[in-house]
Structures are given as C-alpha cells and as structure tokens.
Amino acid sequence: MAKVELKNLTKTYDKKILALEDINLTIEDGQFFVLLGPSGAGKTTTLRCIAGLEKIDSGSVLFNNESVTEDQPASRDVSFVFQQFSLYPHYTVYENLAFPLRSPMRKLPEDEIKTKIESISKMLKISNKLKNKATELSGGEMQRVAIGRALVREPSIYLMDEPLSSLDAKLRESLRVELKNIQTNLNATILYVTHDQAEATTLADKIGVLKEGKIVQIGTPEEIYENPNSIYVSQRLGSPKINVLPGSLFNINGNTSTFGIRPENILLGTGNYSGKIISIENLGSETVVAINFEGHEVLSSIQGAYKSSINETINFDINTNKVLKFNKEGNRINER
C-alpha cells in the first residue's frame, strides 16, 4: 500500500470544461478516504486521474512521495472498482477474478490464484457463482464480483467509484460493514467516492468534500459534521437535512446572514418559540417533525415516536451552542 498525494492537480476536458481545479489531497497509507459531493463535482475524475486513465493538465500525482504523473495505468498498480461494473462479459466469474492476477506484470502460479479467489469469493458471498458467466449475474452479484476483482490484488491504492450504489439497501449495509472490516484487516489505502452520506460517515477515516471541481473541506466525519466551513459542506452530511434559516430569525446576534442548525438541536415541548406542525414522519428510532415558524419550515428530530397531530401548535427551543453562523457568501463566521 502507499501514501497517495495530489498536488495542485488541474484537469480540463476538451481544453474548455474545467473538471478539477487546484486539488490538493493527501491520503495516508492505510487510510480510508471518502470523496463526497453531488454528481458533476469531479469525484470520478479525481479517481481517474489517480489511476492514470485521464491525462492531467497540471500538477502532480505522488505515490509514496514519488511522482507517477507521467506513468501509464499499468505501472501505477492501482485497482479500480468502476461504477458500471465493467466485468469481462465473455468470461466466468472465476476468470474475471483471476484476470488481474494473470497479468504479465504479476504472473502468479495458478494454485495461488485459486486460493486467493476462494477466500475473496467467500468473503463477498459469491463462492457458488464462480462458474457462472459474468453476464448471467444480478446487478448486486456483478458489483460484488467487481469489488472482488479489485480486492484480489494488493495494489498501491484501491479506487472505488460508488461501488455500492446499485445494490439494494440491505446488501449495501452489510457490504459497507464488510468493506470497512476488510480495509482494517488489510490496512488498505482506499479512496472511495460516493454521494451517499451514510457511506461517507460510516466508512471514512477522512472525508474530502468536493464542490464544482474544488475541494472545499477535508476532515474527519465528526469535523465535517460538527464544524463545517460553509453552508454547502453543512448540507452534505446529516439526515434529516440541516435547517438553513435567515439570520434575522431567533435573534441570532452578530452579522450573521444565514445560520444553520441541525434538527436534533431543535427541542420540542419547551421554549419560547411556537409554530404549527406541518408533518410528522416516524422513522422508527426517531421521528422528524416539520414546524412552520414565521413562514419557514423548521425540521426537528427526536428520539423514538412523537405523539402529536398535524396543524397543532407546538412550543420549541433551539440549542444556541450548536448554531452554525454563516456570512453572505455562505462561509462560516467566528469558527472555533
């Protein structure tokens, strides 16, 4: 495994469309790094630049402090889980998994390949599918084979492009846990791309938030959640979504133009503020209550079920210590 660094990386498509601008990023050896951002933010492009599938305009890519900027993908020795699976359609699952191990640059003996594939397929629960053709699998199985094809190798870095996005919720959760275990056991360096915040917070050692081709904040999941440096970042994490409200509400002092407060910091049943309930959503372990306060929708989430009905007027309070203040540009002010 390797430490991977991006220095001032800039990438444009067709010399016009700016995809990545001045990206600086360090992924430590053995770190699980998650890139988070909406589609079009440049997540996939970042992966492709590291893999060497895209030529970068300027800047450099370093593996263990050595530049690989000019190297071909094969000599960079990375493994890549593509979003669209990209299994080799004419071959069986076994042959797909064996393919990277049979590369002339790695040539392992066949019996060693066999043991490797058996252990990986057991881990990913595809042992009974090894003889199937790649095209005869369900979407979830294909995705697991694609992950397996990356995991049979010990590359410099694992690059994963939304590898769980096409799975159903149950499988996604179990594989998420499995993936984190694998990473811890192998002490693997992983750069993982997603727009799913649950994946980001559960998997990541560090999260990098991308916005329109720029890294806007890097930090641990807790830092990103508790201490976002802009409205944009604050909205990336948290479900239900953070309340973003005008500064004039609730007598928040200073030159706050906008402020954000997470739904768990809106306390129901006490306090001096009151509003009408718009909706109640019971999610099992928590309940999300939407309140109309002076024309603004305010979300509150509370533990367990909540007995009340729509259109009822309710008192609530806010935890002022947890208020995030932003200026006109949407950036955080008086950061701690």
């Binding site: 599938l53 020795d77 493994s79």
Partner: protein, 299 residues
Amino acid sequence: MKVKKKFKGLSDKAVGWLFIGPSVLLLLAINIYPLVYAIKMSFTNFYANKIGRVPEFVGLKNYIKVLNKEAIWEKMQVTASFMFWTLLLQAIIGLGLALLLNRKFKGNELLTTLIVLPMMLSPAVVGVFWTYLYNPQVGLFNYVVNFFYDFGSFDMIGSSMLAPWSIVIVDTWMWTPFTMLICLAGLRSVPNYLYEAAEVDRANKWQQFIYITLPSVLPFLLLALLFRGIENFKMFDMVVELTSGGPGSATELASINLKREAFEKWKTGYSSAFAVILFVTIFGFGNVYVKVMNKIKER
C-alpha cells in the same frame, strides 16, 4: 373518462398481411416455384431445347450420373479452394483494417469510404476491368509486382497455375470491405470501460485483444464469413468476365460448370439434379455453421 370510438377497419393481422403480401407473392413466383420445378425436372430426362419432346421420369439416374462424374468433383475442389482462400484472406485483412479504422485519427471517415468503394461496384464490371489490370503487357498489376521483385513476364489469367489466384485476389479486393464493415460494427459495440478496466488490471495490449476485442468481434466476423461463404459458393459473374473458367478448367467453379451444362449443352434434367445437389450442400453447411456460430455467441 371518454373513450374514443373504436376504429373500425382492417384488423392488425390483415394489415400485416397486406404489407408482406406482395413480397411473399414475389418470392413464391421467382424463388420457390422455380426451385420446386427444378426438383421435379431433376428426376426427368428433360432437354429444354428439344421442343415438343415429353420428358420421361428417370428416377435417381441424373443424381447418380452427377455424383459419379469425376469432372464434377474437380469443379467442387476448385470451388472449395476458392472459398477457403477468399474467406481466410477476407477474415484476416478485414479484421485488420477494422482494427486500424477503429482508432481515432484525422481522415478516418474519408478513408473508410474509400476502402468501401470496391464493394459498391458491379461484379461483372470488376471482372472486366481486372482483365485489363492483369494484362501481362500493359497491366498495372504485373507492373506493380515487378516493381518490387522482377519475376519477368507472367500472365495471371493465362497461366493455369496463377489463374485461381487471380480470382482470389479480385474477390478479396472487392469483398474485404464487407467483412471490415461488419467487424467495425462489432468493435464499435465494445464499451471503452472494458479496456480501461483491463489497463488498470495491468493487461498488455495483446491480452486486451485476446480477452476483450476478439471475443466481442468474433460473432460479427463469423456472420460476415457466412454471407461471404454463401456468396462465393455460387460465385459466377465476376469469374466469368475475368477468366470464363479458364484456362482449361482451372477456374471453372461449380456454378460456371452448371451454367455450361444447362445453357450450352441444354442437359436440363441433369443440370437440375446438379443444382439441387449444390443447393442441399450449401443449405446443410449453412445450417451447421449457424449452429456453431450460435454456440460461440453464447459462450
């Protein structure tokens, strides 16, 4: 809800028949009827030039005659070797050209159009102008060959050793674009991310070709060769114009021999039997080939 009044008129089935009716009739009239008629005639001693003579039923006599005639087997051998070399060359060159044209470069489209041109010419015209190209005194072909290596004077069409190659060369020149086009369609259908995955998996170009490109184009190539095989089994016009089966019978393909028996010697019953044998042969081979092709596709 208001439902529009049901359209009253022809049913879907009737409309369907209306569309395919004319072509079915045409097919029956000019393909199926002559075929049935020829099968019937193949059991008689019919001579189309002997008017008024009532053909007699002779049983399998014509078939026995055809299959026992050594000359027929020579023609079959000429046809088989013609097919073997044309298909082999067209497969290799066609796939090669397709691989080259699948790359992105300037003038790609213009070059494709130019390469495809021979295919669009009439085979008879191709046959005629290649007789000029092959002319030993003034022909361009001999000049070009001698330019690279001086073989001295040789006659592609006149020599019984070279004549079979002369028709192979012309057919390959004319029809390689066809296999190329179909292979190109196959190559375009291979998604680029497979190559990216292979590159990341550290496969070299040769492995990428063997593991990804070849299995993807193979069904396309086999289909192209099926078409070419059927066409070349009944090859007639181009070869007649070029060598008319000569010298001697060096390039006398089965179809040319058939035409001679039928319309020069007027042995209608006999040649009908020959035609039926050819038909069954190609039908049988074609079916086996399609089965094999489907197996490969499923793989």
